[in-house]
């Protein structure tokens, strides 16, 4: 990590601090301010009604925020602890369904349901993290793959009648609680909008703020986890678990903790997603979605604090900006260049091809991702005119 000349750490706190210089602070506050003001510039916004910013931009930002939360959790697990998860989407699903059950069926307010569903998802994550006690690397990836199939199956198959009969009757209200849950089977469920003091968060503007605040909290928490004792322990487990054990770090506990944290992040994101869309459906959380999260993390930079943000931003750049702009041109030109290609076939091929090729290129030429590139650029800028890059 390069520091600007003239900035010396004289205290340990300084060495650890996230914002080290005034310039850092300036950029941080500027970005925050822009993010906060953005909705006010829409036509639907409360004050200016300028229409400078389209509502769909806000909605896209909301989705970006939710994705960043998920990928940040994944980054803690994979980038900092070195554990592979192919089942992140299933954990998002657990968060979404838990939140739906609590808010729509049990009358809990969203603000309480959000942390509860996060914790519950964390517990589910622990269950599937248990194989990590015995195996590592590839086998763990397989255990999470099993989660990716078993969790959606469970949610689709769930029936309250499972909890009738002797044992469950004796548990009293627990059995009743479980019996009354309706997960909707193979069809979806609708989710009410969050409410606070009579105000309903049911449009792109208000949900944008909710997601923004939660996302900032999650990002800050991740930063703090990384630079604290836990983070250092996780990194040591990643780099060499035997050495870590020798240092007195309880490897099992920290691996499980990483699993728990990643699942908690997924749970938070799931809850937010359910309420932002105001509906949930079991088909929206399959393996392709999990793979997409992984791909975002790879492109962004595994094990870099900014990796999640870069990766998600890059994906949205491809999906919401590059593809719409090149699509018409390709549809007009490609059939001429390659006579066997039909122009209607171009649309479905674009996203998998572009995303796949991007991934292949990154894996071969820049496996450390965009965040590493960014660090290099920053370093080059700081060392100017003596930079070598």
């Amino acid at each position: 990590m390069l520091r600007p000349s003239g900035v010396y750490d004289v205290k340990y706190e300084q060495d650890l601090s996230i914002y080290r210089t005034r310039v850092d602070w300036f950029w941080g506050i500027l970005i925050l301010a822009v993010l906060l003001i953005l909705p006010l510039l829409t036509r639907e916004g409360p004050f200016f009604e300028t229409g400078l910013v389209s509502v769909s931009v806000l909605s896209t930002f909301t989705r970006i925020g939710i994705f960043i939360i998920i990928v940040t959790g994944l980054n803690l697990l994979m980038g900092y602890t070195g554990q592979i998860s192919l089942g992140q989407a299933a954990f998002v699903m657990v968060g979404a369904y838990t939140s739906q059950v609590l808010v729509a069926q049990k009358g809990v307010t969203f603000w309480v349901a959000l942390p509860i569903s996060a914790l519950f998802t964390g517990l589910v994550g622990l269950i599937f993290g248990i194989p990590s006690l015995r195996v590592r690397g590839f086998y763990l990836a397989m255990a999470t793959l099993a989660a990716q199939f078993i969790i959606p199956w469970f949610i689709k198959a769930y029936e309250g009648t499972w909890f009738e009969g002797g044992f469950w009757d004796s548990t009293g209200f627990i059995g009743e609680f479980l019996r009354e849950i309706d997960l909707g089977g193979a069809t979806g469920k609708s989710v009410p909008a969050p409410e606070l003091l009579g105000a309903k968060f049911n449009n792109d503007l208000s949900m944008y703020y909710v997601v923004l605040v939660v996302m900032l909290l999650c990002a800050a928490a991740a930063r703090n986890i990384i630079r604290s004792r836990i983070g250092r322990a996780l990194i040591s487990v990643r780099d060499n678990d035997l050495a870590a054990e020798q240092l007195g770090i309880n490897v099992f506990r920290y691996k499980l903790l990483a699993f728990f944290i990643a699942a908690v992040y997924a749970g938070i994101a799931g809850s937010l997603q359910a309420h932002a869309n105001q509906s949930i459906s079991p088909g929206a959380f399959d393996l392709t979605v999990s793979i997409r999260y992984l791909g975002m993390l790879i492109v962004g930079g595994v094990g870099f604090p900014l990796g999640a943000t870069f990766g998600v931003a890059f994906f949205f750049l491809i999906n919401d900006f590059i593809i719409p702009n090149i699509r018409p041109w390709l549809q007009a030109q490609l059939p001429n260049l390659l006579p066997f290609v039909d122009s209607t076939n171009i649309e479905p091929a674009l996203l998998p091809m572009l995303f796949g090729i991007t991934l292949v290129i990154f894996l071969i030429y820049e496996p450390r991702g965009l965040a590493y590139r960014w660090a290099l650029i920053q370093a080059a800028w700081k060392l100017r005119p003596f930079s070598q890059a």
Partner: protein
Amino acid sequence: MNKNAKIIQWTAITIALALTILWASMDDCSNTGESCGNLVQFTLNGMMVGGVYALVALGIVIINKASGVFNFAHGYMMFAGGMLFWQTFDGPPSDTLALILGMIAGLVVLGLVTTGVELRETTQQSRMQKLGSWLRTPRVQIGIVAGLVTTGVVFILFNQLNNDILRGSLGALIGSIAIGLAVERFTIRPLLGQPLLAAIMMTLAVGLVLQGSISLFWGSQPRPLSVFVEPAREEPIVVPIGIDAQGNTIYQEVGTQAVPPKVQPNYRVETEDWLGKDLSFQRNLVWGFVIAISCFVAFVLFFEFTNVGLAMRAVAENQVLAESVGLRVRTILAVAWAIAAAMATIAGVIQGTGPGIGLSAIVIPPLALRAFPAVLLGGLESITGALVGGLVIGIVETLASALVDSTTGQEFAPFAVLLIVLMLKPDGLFGQRRIDRV
């Protein structure tokens, strides 16, 4: 010999177990309310379905054994191979296509024979001189001759025999081997020495690229594979396109290909007196089962008795050591990918030739996901394991579908087996015990 004994022992145990289950279920099928014939039929159905899983698992295991990469793109390799089969099977014989395929096959052979040929570097050589000395190397000369012979053989086979199944297989195998080699060369080889995550991600990314390419070239509409069908009808297929002034419908011919003929009836085994009903088996699955068994036998022979097989085992055992004793590791990895791609194609075609199934994105690629538990159950590096794992997963799935309900059998049971294996015996039934335990 010790290892062989172990394999035989385990195979015997598995077969005995399967027979016991079969016998036990026959014995008290009156208790469960199912007829004896049904239970036998379901178990055997499961074995047949397991044959397809075993074919998929074999491909994955071969790659994993040679290069230590678990191939998540296998499903899309099946799909691509199936589409290539459809393309050459459904189309008429064509000289151009035959020539292109022949040339691809020739180049593949040339490439395989000449990989790793190194020239003495002298700085003064021009490019032409380098080419000249490359051409003078005996191995290159052999490669060129072999390549030309392959081209000729493929060209003649493809064109002379007017047999569409042979044509399809030739096209699909050559095309898919080329795909396998390309995937290995351009995506997997640059990753040597990278961490596991990179390899997993790479195969996932290759899957995405293949998915995109398939929809770019062929679109997303399902394609029928009419292999196990009755002879096609002779009459032209026509569609009505309008009405003339007299009120008569105007028809236009759209060719005889537009409608596939009837599926052939299942293979039947007369067991009415013995089990209460005849057993019947889907034709494509029987063939899949037979092919899976033959592939298994072929591989065991190949590994045990050929030099390449020996080299492959050595590479699988220790890549660096194999390289240092002069084995051509890169060639061997390429061969492994080529074989696996061919296996994927066979599995894809077997699945697609089922009654009315055909080839589409929702039918072919997800099958590979469902074969993953089979790979893990058998052990990541075991050919025997792939076969046994595939059969067991097939039987578990079918019996659970029949006895509990189909949702449990299809969506839950295989992955529950996967989880149990991971918890109890992560190296699988036949896997090598070299798992890093922490």
